[in-house]
């Protein structure tokens, strides 16, 4: 019988002895492609992935313990690029405040350009994942970069001497809030994205700068 094999790759030549890893790479690539196409991680099925690569479903389990591990491995790659993209944006200027702003812009842009990985990394309960520890490591590193950037703003006197940790968390949550809602509620009547991000960054800067408001201005 052997009905027409799905849609794409007819079949795939069996890898030679030492070259089992090539399938692993192909699986990652195909999964990433399908994730981008469908826009949702659980819309891509094990069978669709297997079919796209030209193997049978169980072959996947020779290279990944389960589906979420495969998905997470794809996201992990994105996260590396994510971190270095934000870092690069932050290093593109010497002004620490402007650097933070550029980090924020880069963060949001990356999230919007890779919504599904972003969703998986930052918008789902992550606990239960296998290779999660690796991600935690990478995440901790990225977060430390942010704390350092905030510290530089404090050192130059641009920011008042707040706790850099809580300030960094505040900035992260603010930037994540924009990214997250833009992804989740695309139908909301959002203003121009750049303007929104700039507003958020400006609020953070004004909120953290070196000025102590005595009492509110011209109230009645």
């Amino acid at each position: 019988m052997t009905a027409v094999r799905g849609s794409s790759a007819k079949s795939r030549p069996r890898s030679r002895r030492g070259e089992g890893e090539t399938l692993r790479e192909d699986l990652l690539a195909a999964t990433e492609r399908l994730m981008i196409e469908t826009g949702s991680a659980d819309a891509v099925s094990i069978r669709a992935i297997a079919d796209a690569v030209g193997v049978t479903p169980p072959s996947i389990y020779l290279h990944f313990p389960d589906k979420t591990s495969l998905i997470l491995a794809v996201c992990e790659r994105h996260f590396e690029v994510f971190d270095s993209t934000v870092e690069a944006a932050g290093r593109s200027t010497d002004d620490p405040v402007e650097s933070l702003r550029r980090r924020g812009r880069a963060y949001v842009r990356f999230g919007l350009e890779n919504p599904e990985p972003y969703r998986i990394l930052f918008m789902t309960r992550a606990e239960t994942a296998p290779q999660y520890d690796t991600l935690v490591g990478a995440g901790a590193r990225a977060f430390r970069h942010l704390v350092d950037a905030v510290q530089r703003c404090i050192d130059t006197g641009a920011y008042r001497p707040v706790d850099p940790l809580i300030a960094a968390i505040g900035i992260w949550t603010a930037v994540h809030g924009v990214t997250s809602l833009l992804i989740s509620l695309p139908d909301f009547p959002w203003p121009n994205v750049d303007a929104l991000v700039d507003h958020v960054c400006e609020i953070q800067n004004r909120g953290l700068n070196d000025f102590v408001p005595e009492h509110q201005g011209g109230a009645s």
Copy 2:
């Protein structure tokens, strides 16, 4: 065969003629309970719901077109309470700035106490849902409440005359950012939640208050 019927309700007396709605209510209640128990909407299956209520799976489709509609109906209820809770918190003081702070605290608290509904309402692509329009209406109303609250801060001179719309969006995204990340990444070494929320609110207040920073303060 008729194996032991799942775990709970053996069976359920057939409703009388006009009382089909009672099953609908029971379904909503059971779904809500299971959602809270399992902590995830797609961990509760149609079969589990049917079993908990004591009917067979297809009966559910007499009252809801599909599973997501059922889930959304549950979330919709939460949303009503959500909106009115935040509103009540906001009305508990006359100071408009303090009012905003209380709204923020109530928002985060509610999100953390109802993480799965919050996730479904604000952290998933919502487009594809049937009864989504209703929610959009309720959401628009809640959002308008926030804009009004911001406007009051501007009117009293507490906030400088910014665009209340973009200021409200900024506040919303900030508060959502905290809520969302606290839900998604519970293993992150968060500081005290109240302190974090207060920080976020303070940043917003300082960022929006009536003061124009000429240049940064006491730098070296």
